[in-house]
């Protein structure tokens, strides 16, 4: 009878396609919006993920997320270095500084100053040049995307064409000379400013004059000491904020989740997808059941038990759910593939597959159960009505 149930479902082409469309649409909206949201959230801590060497980040205790720049006293570096269990602790500067390009155009950039001696905290992938190039006077390494887009300049011979920032090119950061000595590849971050790496001493020369210019202290524990334990020890001893990379990512996500409207906006879209999918699939499934009431009543009259009819309806629901989810996921993956070269943030972790499958199967089973109630309550006597 299950074979017949499938034929009954597929045989009614218009309703079958209607239910399928509802579920495909629902899957697409749920996974696509959730995928963009996940991508966006991952971007918020892209800088932490790219800076892999330190296991502990020390900062001003009021810092709420990775882009919340609050400086510490220079002496805080020595306080951290003096704590038991610290293998090394190096300074890092992070700030937004205006760069003046050869064309005369200004562009705000994120400037990162690395410890002069060790260059710890540098970019994960250098595509041209070397991290050691930063030891040259006024040397900077620029991220590829920034060089190709916001730091590019127009071709004087063809204004519609842009020329990326070139290796060896000289420009100004806060009226001081900077020379491009390399390019790097970074994870896209929430803000799309170009990223410029230089040494800590260069960075504080570039930075507007302030009393304190130490943004982070990057720390690594001695062998055998757990980062969480050391972070706690630093917090206790200095009163500063100290987090492991994982904790710092969580802090950043928490800020965006609780202090911005992003999750609500995406949550509404995901919920809308769920509701529209439920409405379309539910309504069409219900209509399908209603139109087939006479056939189900005939089967009941012929001796089909409620159990078999329940199985038939559930197999019909499972079939459309599986097809709808599969095609919807396929469309989302296609969307992800097409948008991979764009600015759009989109990530599709494995658990999104599981969650979307659960959502779609819930929608369909819900629709099926509502329809099933009508079928099971129907009186088989209708078979004798013309």
């Amino acid at each position: 009878m299950l074979r017949f149930a499938i034929k009954m479902m597929i045989g009614d082409r218009i309703k079958f396609l209607g239910i399928l469309f509802g579920l495909i649409f629902s899957t697409f909206i749920i996974t696509q919006q959730a995928g963009i949201f996940i991508g966006l959230m991952q971007r918020t801590y892209g800088f932490i993920a790219d800076t892999s060497q330190p296991t502990i980040w020390v900062m001003d205790p009021e810092v709420q997320h990775v882009d919340d720049i609050k400086t510490m006293k220079a002496t805080d570096l020595y306080r951290v270095q003096g704590i038991e269990g610290v293998q090394w602790a190096v300074p890092m500067y992070k700030g937004l500084i205006k760069a003046r390009l050869p064309s005369g155009r200004y562009q705000i950039c994120t400037v990162l100053g690395l410890d002069d001696a060790s260059l710890i905290g540098g970019p994960p992938i250098i595509t041209e040049g070397s991290i050691e190039n930063l030891r040259a006077p006024n040397a900077v390494i620029v991220n590829q995307v920034g060089a190709q887009k916001k730091l590019s300049h127009k071709n004087p011979n063809n204004p519609s064409q842009t020329i990326p920032m070139q290796y060896g090119e000289v420009f100004e950061i806060n009226d001081r000379r900077a020379q491009v000595m390399g390019f790097c590849k970074l994870t896209r971050t929430f803000f799309s400013h170009p990223v410029i790496y230089t040494t800590f001493s260069n960075a504080i020369d570039y930075a507007p004059k302030e009393r304190n210019l130490l943004t982070f202290v990057l720390v690594h524990p001695e062998a055998g000491i757990k980062p969480e334990v050391l972070a706690k020890r630093i917090r206790k001893a200095t009163g500063l904020g100290a987090y492991t990379s994982k904790e710092f990512k969580k802090l950043t996500i928490k800020y965006y989740m609780t202090e911005t409207g992003i999750p609500v906006n995406f949550g509404v879209a995901v919920l809308l997808g769920f509701m529209i999918g439920t409405a379309i699939a539910g309504q069409t499934f219900y209509n399908f059941a209603h139109d087939n009431l006479r056939h189900f009543a005939t089967l009941k009259a012929m001796g089909t038990t409620h159990r078999t009819i329940t199985k038939m309806v559930l197999i019909q629901a499972t079939l459309v759910a599986f097809l709808g989810w599969g095609i919807g996921i396929g469309l989302t993956a296609l969307f992800g593939f097409i948008s991979s070269s764009s600015e759009l943030s989109f990530k599709m972790p494995w658990w999104l597959f599981v969650l979307s499958a659960l959502s779609i199967f819930t929608i369909t089973i819900l629709a099926a159960l509502i329809s099933l109630r009508k079928i099971l309550k129907s009186d088989p006597v209708v078979v004798f009505q013309q």
Binding site: R3, F4, G303
Partner: protein, 232 residues
Amino acid sequence: MSKTIVTCNQLKKSYGDEKESRVVALSGLDLTVQAEELLMLVGPSGCGKTTLLSIMSGILTQDSGDCILFGHDLNKMKDDQKSALRKNKVGFVFQAFNLIPMLSALENTTIPLILNGFDPQEANSIAAKLLTRVGLGSRLDALPSHLSGGEKQRVAICRGCIHKPGLIVCDEPTSNLDHQTGIQVLKLLKELAISEKSALVIVTHDPRIFDFADRLLHMDDGRIVREETNGT
């Protein structure tokens, strides 16, 4: 002595809750149906024929009285037990054919066998033989929408008889058919039922087919008002 298939004693059934709007369909009806008998129920619309058919086939419950089907008191049976009894021992032929439109003639015919646990291949083979016997050998894969009224009714008859039920109930089996086709369909129905020693209960308005009946029961106001046996 032939076996009794259905025994109804003082069957009563009415529809509607309000006293004023209550419609009495059966008012203390007595009836027996014997094996290999072709019984026709005739009478004006609303006289209770279809209600009686529904009760004796176990798909409607009477308000009072007893209905014994194949020795089972339907009053004492649960829904699943009644379903099992219908599945094994009752065949249905409906006025509107009630074929499932998405299934082929062959698939529609196999349904009672599949419900009774037959292997699909075996069911297909039995159904194909039966459909060929009634002249539909070349229409096995046709969907109901591609069949004529007579062909649809022949498929419905095959579906009603294929599992060799002891009782076949038919509701107006010829009303949607022209005279010639109606006669052919009834001959076929009788032939198949007799070959399987089934009892046949037919509700009809169609006087053209009265001659096929072994017994003709005239109903009015929920009662049997006159009984004719073949030749009287």
